[in-house]
Symmetry: C2
Subunit: 499 residues, 2 copies
């Protein structure tokens, strides 16, 4: 599967596949779906850039909220610093901290928004790996750390942001940078962590930028169909006929599948590597492509339009299945000889840390009920079933998900009223084409809880590096973000001088 | 020891004795030192009042921050509600929640400030017991719960306030009171919990009143001698000669102790029940009385003046030891036949839950370095020694204290600058005669982080019930508190109607 990829940026691959897994836990492992890095990123993260980076390990406490003997165990947590642009401690120059999310951190992390703006704000840039991933595993290796209910227990968001608190305090101490303001950044799950960090540790982070963070997709706050509603809208807005064709295709697939030799026919028409055992595998595969296209569409390649153009363009030449296959071919830039759709039964690759880790987080606390309970969807109905979900988690992990904990700990119902009253200095940025924007904060709540949305933006687009071909709206969004952050820092420095 | 008592109010006995234990872990167990309730309280907490109370148990999660199998264990957490004055859910009437601290909750809890003001604000009054105490023990009994490093591990402040979050959300749900604003209250350690709760769970508590909460007595923010400095000042302000006599007495005791039969002489002169094995036991006993007198002095009995008057009044009749003994006699309203000062070696009573519980909390996270490192103290020098303290904790509990965790999780350094920037709706009330005020927030930080101090107030005095003999300054302090809280609630209701 690794060769079916789509442009995205590291640390913002996030949980495309998790969505699928929320509505059905038994889907193929598509975690390598979109592993190709954006061309710009490849250019910038050269060895030239790597020279500016220094890697450190902090001996992190396994359990911040317990005083059992085993909670005192420590593990090395990795963080990487780019010192190049820092204005140093004596001028109280700021620290930009990027929070790792559900992925191992690369050796040469590069988040455009931070690196592009660190020079003008004289900022230190810090990347911190999320516990359990990559080189920050508490029990020797990822496999060991995830092997049973006891070792997995410490893997959750509250522990993760407490880690970030410890690491940031440690960095400030080491650099004697007590009065350097810290701005935290993150995208998607990492964006939720960044905004939650500002809520929970405002004494450590002066402000947060949470890109594409669906913090309202918990505990029934956002409607379950929001995600698929946006995907549907994206396709409909791109091409009504493309939308109609895809919408029709599911029934066509079902009908053909029921014919004698139907699965053979479908396998042949969709060039599957192995004969389909069920039409669901084909449908899941296609769903993943469509939602991936919607979530990660960008103004550079505009894959959404590419796919729809292919589907629409084939209208006069072939039938619905042929049109859909043309869409798949247009998506597959690598021109694979065949398509592997039977992944769930015989995985050809080891599941990634991201896949394993996020599956666990969903079954413990990160339970976002995403499903399709509406008729006008691009997709066939597939409502989220909490009972099935909980049963499956119990079967897998022996524990029951805690669907209310996220909203208890971080807030949720009446969030706007509450955030308005107590919170400050958070930017929630969203691209409205991103299906996850349906769980995001899309309107400013106060003059310091600011929503910045772009009509044509996708998942975490603002975090990517500046590019000469950036559309105006994207450049404007990033400029606004930096201006707001600079405002926080300036005000902080002014306050500091007053004291 | 239980008959040597002093007036105080339940849930605000707090950690008088802990101080002593911080500077020396091996002091006699004086935890029942001040067990007599204020006369007013006894009158009010009659069966008539009890009729308004209803007791409930919430099945609480053992560990909110872990997903090990054992963290899913639940235990019954007790809370008691006074429904009498509540304006009910449909009018979004407020909820006053009093946070239990390091003590079992009585069956008829009564905190004056809440009960006196609930009628005019139509407030529901909720008392929640702190985990591990009383009937809220996670492992069957207090003894079982404290028996080893594993069972004790879940006993900490972060878990405790997470409990309160869960209970309060549960109460709102049960009463369909989604939009009833919650104000949380607490005194001393409970006051710290209340203010921290507002910082960590502002989406649940609209505001907090933290009475006598020394949130700055951590991690070297407040100077270690602050506590004893205030005790010293209290005595000096009451009577310079009393202060001089006490100050002189330690050397006199030391000198006499070194004489042949010195300990017999001291035992006789101080009417000890058993012969003193060391003069330290006498000195510790006296220190506890002096700090208790300072911490809990009230305008009704003014024990500080009573003790000093006795000491000063005996000046012409006896020597220094005789004067000190007169002070002791004046303090001892019960007229004990003898004084038990050898408690540490042969405890005549089982140590209280408060004593055992707080000893543990100090050795894990609640490490307030309190000592006497100044020359001009009422007491002999006794600097806080972190190394000794840590060693003793290791020996006792097998674990190392985490002196930085409280400030990492709740904030600390630059607290004012930080609170100003992000926090709101907290009242820090302090009586400046209370030695713990040295670690309190004594100046308002913003127009909603308000410090209310009284020059002559003592520990948690504002929480006590109104009394006809209340001095004007105390009545004024309480009125201000209620006015501020009413302002928060009114603004909340106004905001609610706007939405």
């Amino acid at each position: 599967m690794s060769s079916i990829v789509h442009s995205f940026q590291w640390l913002c691959l996030f949980f495309l596949f998790t969505l699928i897994c929320v509505s059905s836990l038994n889907v193929p492992r598509f975690e390598n779906f979109h592993r190709r890095k954006h061309h710009q990123h490849q250019t910038i993260s050269s060895s030239q850039f790597s020279q500016n980076l220094e890697t450190f390990y902090y001996m992190q406490r396994l359990d911040h909220f317990n005083y059992r003997l085993d909670s005192y165990t420590t593990f090395p947590q990795r963080y990487i610093i780019n010192f190049k642009h820092w204005g140093e401690a004596k001028s109280n120059a700021p620290i930009f901290a990027f929070f790792g999310a559900e992925e191992p951190m690369p050796e040469d992390p590069y988040v455009g928004l931070l690196e592009d703006n660190a020079p003008k704000l004289n900022a230190l840039v810090v990347y911190i790996e999320h516990r359990y991933y990559g080189k920050s595993t508490p029990f020797g290796s990822f496999e060991e750390s995830m092997k049973n209910a006891t070792t997995r227990g410490y893997f959750n968001s509250a522990q993760a942001i407490a880690d970030y608190a410890d690491v940031l305090i440690h960095i400030k101490k080491t650099l004697s940078a007590q009065h350097s303001p810290i701005i935290v950044f993150g995208g998607s799950y990492g964006g939720m962590l960044a905004s939650w960090f500002r809520l929970k540790y405002p004494h450590i982070a002066l402000g947060a930028l949470a890109s594409s963070a669906p913090i309202l997709y918990f505990d029934g706050i956002a409607p379950q169909h929001g995600y698929y509603y946006v995907v549907t809208k994206d396709f409909k807005d791109t091409s009504e006929s493309c939308y109609n064709t895809i919408r029709e295709s599911w029934n066509v697939i079902d009908r053909v599948a029921k014919e004698p030799n139907g699965l053979s026919i479908l396998s042949k028409r969709f060039k599957t590597c192995k004969k389909l055992s069920t039409s669901s595998n084909l449908k899941d595969y296609l769903v993943l492509i469509y939602i991936g296209v919607a979530q990660y569409n960008d103004p550079y390649e505009n894959t959404l339009k590419v796919v729809c153009d292919a589907i629409d363009g084939a209208a006069n030449k072939t039938d619905v299945l042929g049109q859909i296959f043309e869409g798949l071919l247009a998506f597959d830039l690598e021109k694979l000889p065949c398509y592997e759709m039977e992944g769930s039964e015989e995985p050809s690759e080891k599941p990634s840390e991201t896949y394993i880790g996020w599956e666990w987080q969903k079954c413990s606390e990160m339970l976002m009920p995403i499903g399709i309970d509406k008729e006008d969807s691009l997709f066939q109905p597939n409502p989220f079933n909490m009972t099935d979900f909980i049963d499956e988690c119990k079967k897998r992990y022996g524990v029951v998900p805690q669907p209310h904990w996220v909203t208890t700990y971080y807030g949720g119902p009446d969030l706007k009223l509450n955030l308005k009253r107590f919170a400050s200095n958070i930017i929630f940025s969203n691209g409205l084409m991103d299906p996850y924007s349906s769980g995001g904060v899309l309107n400013s709540i106060s003059n310091s809880i600011i929503a910045l949305t772009t009509k044509n933006g996708s998942h975490c687009l603002d975090l990517r590096p500046n590019d000469p071909s950036d559309p105006h709206w994207l450049t404007t969004q990033r400029k606004k973000e930096v201006k707001i952050i600079k405002g926080w820092i300036d005000k902080y420095h002014a306050d500091l001088h007053k004291n």
